[in-house]
């Protein structure tokens, strides 16, 4: 593998210093040594959740074996170690995307972070006559909280359309903002269905100029490309650990400090208070004000190990690797008869995934037939039912790549799909 990688040319302008695009890190991921039904595991569902490198498991194991105590309460030495581990992890994780730890909040997942913004900001800042703007390509996590908060406040929920290429229009964003009632715009950095990479910095600048705040769902972006939250200019930027080689149970929210300070807390209880009287309480400082109860300590330690691992690979190289695989995947899929891919045709305009349909073969059956060849792909609406309706499909199959994906696995997918068509007599 390394030999092959060294002869491969990285995509122009992506990899620095002529770094090879292929990462050859398979041995770092214990699960990839598994066989399923007598076949090697071909995991093409990293957009759902990534596999984990051994260093993440080791970091969590080491923390639980040697440094476990609750945080922010103990005076004893072990508790101080736990504090140092948790807050050290926060600094590492925030630094990975160029943000400050004080306004980096840990929650359960992206869904919870968006609910945090929707409730803690929305309930006090939205009213009848206001609008929340989202897009047709959002994951349910970035749809349903806004539906609920609009119902509660009387604000209107409007959508930016997705065009036939699977992209948003900057003209439409400007038009919507010009109506003067939009208070908040929430959108995905990278679509989990279309793969579309939205022009975040350009959009947040337009949104800020219109006096609205921006909320960006970076769940699909942080694992596969360099992300600098400050350069992106978002007021809120959310992502999740388990898609970025880390454990489940930890979501990350970066927020603009002055907005977070102006907000009421979301969940309330232990650890997020300054003082509790019989009738009222005062709130702890950032970020603790938004972390009620015992936080995901071991998970933060695991995620810090994950982002150190990613930083070690170099996010420019990760991006080049995923783009190369995406290009190979788009080409291989195009050669399967009756197959249509949704989203932008150019690999450089999309993240490392492809959603597709095959004429005469339902996505559920595609996933079942691929599974027979040891290939894990997802089938369904991918938590994006409004988008499915917009695309005019009930569901799609989706293949997605990770840092450990190899070109031969893309070829195995294409072969499995061809075989599946044969089973159905197509």
């Amino acid at each position: 593998m390394p030999q092959a990688a060294s002869t491969r040319q990285p995509a122009a302008g992506l990899a620095e210093g002529g770094a090879p695009a292929s990462l050859a890190v398979r041995e770092d991921f214990p699960i990839l040594a598994r066989r399923l039904q007598g076949r090697p595991l071909i995991y093409l569902d990293s957009a759902s959740t990534s596999q984990k490198p051994a260093v993440v498991m080791q970091a969590m194991d080491e923390h639980l074996r040697a440094h476990n105590a609750n945080v922010h309460r103990g005076v004893y030495a072990l508790a101080q170690e736990a504090d140092a581990a948790y807050e050290g992890a926060r600094a590492t994780i925030a630094g990975f995307v160029g943000w400050e730890p004080e306004s980096t909040i840990f929650a359960k997942n992206v869904t919870e972070t968006i609910n945090l913004v929707a409730y803690a900001w929305g309930l006090d800042n939205l009213a009848a006559g206001d609008a929340v703007l989202i897009t047709e390509m959002e994951h349910h996590a970035n749809v349903v909280p806004w539906q609920q908060i609009c119902r509660r406040t009387g604000a209107e929920l409007r959508y930016l359309h997705v065009d036939e290429r699977g992209e948003l229009s900057s003209g439409e964003l400007a038009q919507e903002l010009a109506r003067g009632d939009v208070k908040l715009v929430a959108f995905a950095h990278v679509s989990n269905v279309l793969g579309t990479i939205n022009p975040v910095a350009e959009m947040t600048a337009t949104i800020r100029d219109a006096g609205a705040i921006s909320v960006v769902d970076g769940a699909q972006a942080v694992p596969q490309m360099p992300v600098d939250v400050r350069a992106l200019g978002a007021d809120f930027y959310a992502w999740t650990g388990h898609k970025a080689l880390g454990p489940t149970g930890i979501g990350v929210l970066h927020g603009r400090r002055e907005i977070l300070e102006s907000m009421e807390p979301f969940l309330t209880g232990g650890d997020m208070i300054a003082a509790v009287d019989f009738q009222r309480s005062t709130w702890n400082e950032l970020p603790y004000k938004f972390e009620a109860g015992t936080p995901p300590i071991a998970e933060a330690v695991g995620l810090a190990a994950a982002v150190r691992y990613l930083a070690g690979l170099g996010m420019e190289r990760v991006r080049a690797h995923e783009q190369e695989l995406t290009a190979r995947m788009l080409k291989a899929l195009a050669e399967v008869e009756g197959l249509s891919v949704v989203g932008p045709p150019e690999p450089q305009r999309r993240g490392g995934l492809a959603s597709f349909t095959i004429e005469g073969l339902h996505p559920h059956d595609i996933a079942e037939l691929a599974n027979r060849e040891g290939v894990c792909v997802r089938a369904g609406h991918h938590c994006a039912q409004p988008l499915m309706r917009r695309l005019g499909v009930g569901s799609t199959a989706r293949a997605s790549v990770g840092v450990y994906t190899e070109p031969r696995e893309i070829d195995a997918l294409a072969a499995a799909l061809r075989k599946g068509r044969e089973v159905f007599g197509l």
């Binding site: 996505p363 559920h364 059956d365 369904g380 609406h381 499915m388 009930g394 089973v423 159905f424 007599g425």
Partner: protein
């Protein structure tokens, strides 16, 4: 292809050319259901005569298993007393399909019973049974 347990010739035949698919106008009973896992949709129209299913049509879209199950069941359901049709168990459907159904495909196989039961009894739960 003959050795394929799940995608037997008969299943694929029903998938490609489903029996009793379409709409019935007029109809006495109707319901519409989605499988929230995969976005499959299935509706049913039923004409009732003397307490029995005189005729029925399924409509919607779904995978080979959900469509074949609806097609195969539709042949059995014609003429069946309503109270019997409304209380069919999961086992009835799985046995009728005659193929191994994994836990993840169970809801595909049972979607048609769910929609039919809803049309007849208003109960929106999934059919139960050992499976």
């Amino acid at each position: 292809m003959s050795e394929d347990e799940l995608y037997r010739e008969q299943i694929l035949e029903h998938y490609k050319r489903p029996h009793n698919f379409g709409e019935l106008t007029p109809h006495d009973l109707e319901a519409f259901e989605q499988n929230p896992l995969c976005g499959d949709e299935l509706g049913v129209h039923i004409q009732v005569d003397d307490g029995r299913i005189a005729d029925l049509r399924f409509h919607g879209h779904g995978c080979a298993i959900s469509q074949a199950a609806a097609s195969i069941a539709s042949d059995e359901l014609k003429g069946m007393p309503l109270d019997q049709a409304g209380s069919l168990s999961a086992d009835w459907m799985i046995d009728l399909l005659g193929i191994p159904i994994s836990p993840t495909r169970r809801k595909c196989a049972l979607l048609n019973l769910k929609v039919m039961r809803r049309a007849i009894t208003g109960d929106s739960g999934w059919p139960t049974g050992v499976g």
